[in-house]
Point group: C2
Chain length 706, copies 2
Amino acid sequence: SAPQDLDLQILETVMGQLSASRIRDNLRELSRDPHLATSPRDEDLVQLLLQRWRDPESGLDSAEASKYEVLLSFPSQEQPNLVHVVGPTGDIIYSCRQTEENLTGEQGGPDVVQPYAAYAPPGTPQGLLVYANRGSEEDFKELQTQGINLEGTIALTRYGGVGRGAKAVNAAKHGVAGVLVYTDPADINDGLSSSSETFPNSWYLPPSGVERGSYYEYFGDPLTPYLPAIPSSFRLDLANVSGFPPIPTQPIGFQDARDLLCNLSGTLAPTTWQGALGCSYRLGPGFRPDGGFPADSQVNVSVHNRLELRNSSNVLGIIRGAVEPDRYVLYGNHRDSWVHGAVDPSSGTAVLLELSRVLGTLLKKGTWRPRRSIVFASWGAEEFGLIGSTEFTEEFFNKLQERTVAYINVDISVFANATLRVQGTPPVQSVVFSATKEIRSPGPGDLSIYDNWIRYFNRSSPVYGLVPSLGSLGAGSDYAPFIHFLGISSMDLAYTYDRSKTSARIYPTYHTAFDTFDYVDKFLDPGFSSHQAVAQTAGSVILRLSDSFFLPLNVSDYSETLRSFLQAAQQELEALLEQHSISLGPLVTAVEKFDAEAAALGEHISTLQKGSPDPLQVRMLNDQLMLLERTFLNPRAFPEERYYSHVLWAPRTGSVATFPGLSNACSRARDTAPGSEAWAEVQRQISIVVMALEGAAATLRPVADL
Amino acid sequence: SAPQDLDLQILETVMGQLSASRIRDNLRELSRDPHLATSPRDEDLVQLLLQRWRDPESGLDSAEASKYEVLLSFPSQEQPNLVHVVGPTGDIIYSCRQTEENLTGEQGGPDVVQPYAAYAPPGTPQGLLVYANRGSEEDFKELQTQGINLEGTIALTRYGGVGRGAKAVNAAKHGVAGVLVYTDPADINDGLSSSSETFPNSWYLPPSGVERGSYYEYFGDPLTPYLPAIPSSFRLDLANVSGFPPIPTQPIGFQDARDLLCNLSGTLAPTTWQGALGCSYRLGPGFRPDGGFPADSQVNVSVHNRLELRNSSNVLGIIRGAVEPDRYVLYGNHRDSWVHGAVDPSSGTAVLLELSRVLGTLLKKGTWRPRRSIVFASWGAEEFGLIGSTEFTEEFFNKLQERTVAYINVDISVFANATLRVQGTPPVQSVVFSATKEIRSPGPGDLSIYDNWIRYFNRSSPVYGLVPSLGSLGAGSDYAPFIHFLGISSMDLAYTYDRSKTSARIYPTYHTAFDTFDYVDKFLDPGFSSHQAVAQTAGSVILRLSDSFFLPLNVSDYSETLRSFLQAAQQELEALLEQHSISLGPLVTAVEKFDAEAAALGEHISTLQKGSPDPLQVRMLNDQLMLLERTFLNPRAFPEERYYSHVLWAPRTGSVATFPGLSNACSRARDTAPGSEAWAEVQRQISIVVMALEGAAATLRPVADL
Ligand SMILES: [Ca+2]
Ligand SMILES: [Ca+2]
Ligand SMILES: [Zn+2]
Ligand SMILES: [Zn+2]
Ligand SMILES: [Zn+2]
Ligand SMILES: [Zn+2]
């Protein structure tokens, strides 16, 4: 009999059954109440997921919750964090809001956590206020160049540019005592800032809205790097934990930021530092004599955050594969939110539940069982730093690495209604293309998702011509440990903006108490057709990966990445490298070898597909495809990083868009003497890439060739 | 049709065709000339191997040689290393031999490398002689306790106790300027030392014999840790290389050692330091006034070793698997010797060639092709530190880890004629037992190899009762990178001594110019029946691993190891740990979980074997078995080690026979204060083992269980 393969009829059935209104119902339930990680409502949702996934008519084969004991950070309910202006005589003459304005009846109550900077240390620094733009290294250097004495000051910074925690790290190096962070209307609201122009009157952020977030530099539970945070695990002494902000930090709304910033004295800030608060931004230090506060007033920041060990749950459900149950297609999203989290993450979870319902129903009816296993995951404590997913990858490192076909992440499923946006590694490009070509786009016109997508994000591929462009995977959601730590081909799917219509950094109510069901229902995706489009895309990708006889991972699509990295190195670094007697020759050879082996494997696949190959033969081939991504891992490549070991996708700080290790090492070596350790590291990084590419080529070769 | 499985007829044919006299012929050819790593004769043997493995009638499917550019160490031909006694006026009054005595006509000529300590630095220290026993830390402390000023002395040490390079490391810490090393007749010759009692009159070491060896502390090419030593690879600056002996070191024969040691002045050495040179060993410093040298004579050691980058070859040959070509049974030995190397390594290579001939002949006749691929390997530069095999594992890390079923090593195949000796990890125990029960032992009586073996090495297994005992794998030959770095189930096979008949550390001519064909033919294995027995054992194991439908790796045999490690921890450490609030509870739970999952998997296998399971189903099961060993790897477990990452088999320096990381950490923590970093490391090591065992159990569970 013919081997089990993708059934287009089943695929069509699934596409047809994914319902926008059920996604809407899911979202209403999921976002009804705030569900901060480990809160009672977060645990209620664990039960909701278990109930759905164990439903006899629409559930999965089995579902389980498991807990990790992890270090989280919360503000004190008894002693809220405060930001004051203190007059010359020590009296409080101005106070920032402690909470967001209760505009829709959902911003009040004990379950709405006060805006805070998770993992910022407690303390009550007081000093003159300075404005430090985005708090980058260059920003603080600029202040220094301007002759401003930063010692003991409070630095007001705006979100963006660098990571949340980096602002405090950079500030502390210059003697700054405390940091305030706000979101400028120029960065989030297309410049609009009045109440009448913002939510609930539009999708823009209200003046009192404050972005919460984790200010921890790494990801995973801070006390248990590389060990699962089970209760018995070894935990670092707090004194040995690195990556927390070094000084007290507190986020505030732009309404409060305006009162502080528009009253500053000192030099006019550079043009690129100006924002949309309706005044000229000055650098400080301190307030101007003709403003709202006495000139020698100071700003006092009281942070009372506490670190707490909490039990955070992951929920996992599985549909057992009929033929290859030991091959996992893993699909997940986090469950925890900062407040109601209608968009982040419930828009993703609403899709996840609808997909598990449709597939579960087919399963329970006996209509269908996938060839490979499908694993559904609801991660805990993502907002604190991808904690649930990271601990899971630590606990099941080997098993997941050996068996996982791909990881699909849908966190925020809809940022906006314009287009699909995909981040992923090259092997998943083809399956996303195949899926999206067959699904109708929700917008006007009769376009496929693919044809709509290509209008917004595209590139000219030397192989395929004009195609939609995939972004690369950073560490913005739970895919990070899967791609960077385990080397599993991964993707993140969402619907998003028309960038010609808004310059918002992200959807405006991100991580605020205004990210509610009504916000989604009225502004983000009325009718939920974009949610449905994401569900269909994810569903089609999952079915193709779990049901296709031949795994639809096109490893030869890595060639384009390698070629482009190599080209950047040749164009922008080769001359410099030659001065230091470092050759790119071995890298050229390695890329060519990869190309040749990938092409030969492609031919082999075509030949096999024309015949009626033995299932064991296809399994062997699929193993080559599945495991290709693993060959790019090197746990010794980046000793200063945590978890990052993928030599193609580790964080790049160097300016040249080439292999990250090479780019970073060159940018460090540039100003050092010939023969320095930094130049040796450049050579080492080239060797690491060559080894990875040669290893990848070896994996693609006919398996019995020496 | 029934799936391809082990064919007992083929097995019997192979057993019958493995010929003692052909092994003897192979050995004569292989050991005809010295074949030091990278020498012309070493390269000639590369060609010999290629010719055999490419033979149209008895060769393999294909064979290739590949080269690595590695850092070796050689004495200078122009300036030989010298050891002199220098009289009070500076004149040389005694010289140690520069070469071994030409007793059989094979110890002379330019291809016999002068005895030397590979990787010992050049230098010409001169000082008073002291005797330092085996050169351990305790030995030098003892000398210190005795009030001997070691500064600037030359320390005479004997082989054994600690590693070769460790003697110089320990010596240098005490200010010693140079080290001499000799083999005491008590340790190698059962006390005999006269010419008439030693080779060529017996198997014992002649008075001029000198053990050569690598004095490098780690293994692999010293310049390219964790990178394959391909020409383009990054190489460490010599200044950054660690692991070489810190001071000049030179090995000498016991004839010369007697002249030095028996003339020493000073206190009588402790009883355990005495040897069989026929005098009372004294500690020095310097010579006694009534001896052969003036009392204030000094010893001068001139070492002129040079480091050289050389091209060393591995040779690989493959028999392509008929059904699962991507599963490799890997069988290897090194090719390079110190001199003629009849025993080390040619006795193993002679067996390897005979096995490849017999299997190749069946293959070329079309009689047989294995289910899985069989890979034959001839490693280069093992004597310098397992270099060829290590570089190979670095180059093909992922591919080998994903696909290799087991690694079988046969280096010295015959140490002596008494019994089989096996070192290996628990999963290979059962296949070795099955094989050896069916092969007749070469000795007197009509015993199987198994029944003979159990008389010499045995233990009482809680599961099986009395069984032969396997030793554990250290780093004595090329299996080391496979088990410790890649986590591949491995074994090392040899025939060896009756320990009641000799106390020799190893066969007496080890690493000397007396390790020749005649030595083997006359003393070690006349008739070559022990060689044949090893060939049959290896052949049967290889066939069972490559041909059995169900992989014959019994993973539940790991339970006994885990239980015994746990028991040692409970009996010898638990009280101490409790004082530091460290619990063994999680370890107990993890061991129990492993046991339960291994037992359940065993039942699952039995059930499957009773039916007619689908090949894909058995492949999935076999993957669980093959990959179990991988789950014990943790590249972050032992940051101070190189390559060692197997949490059960890393080197143990602590005295308690439990998990090595735990044992070592406890022995370091014992004398530190509660709450010290050392005690935190104990807790961390327990967590690392718990994680590994839980990960192992997860791998053994039904693949679709969450
Ligand atoms: Ca952890
Ligand atoms: Ca190397
Ligand atoms: Zn999110
Ligand atoms: Zn978020
Ligand atoms: Zn050897
Ligand atoms: Zn050797």
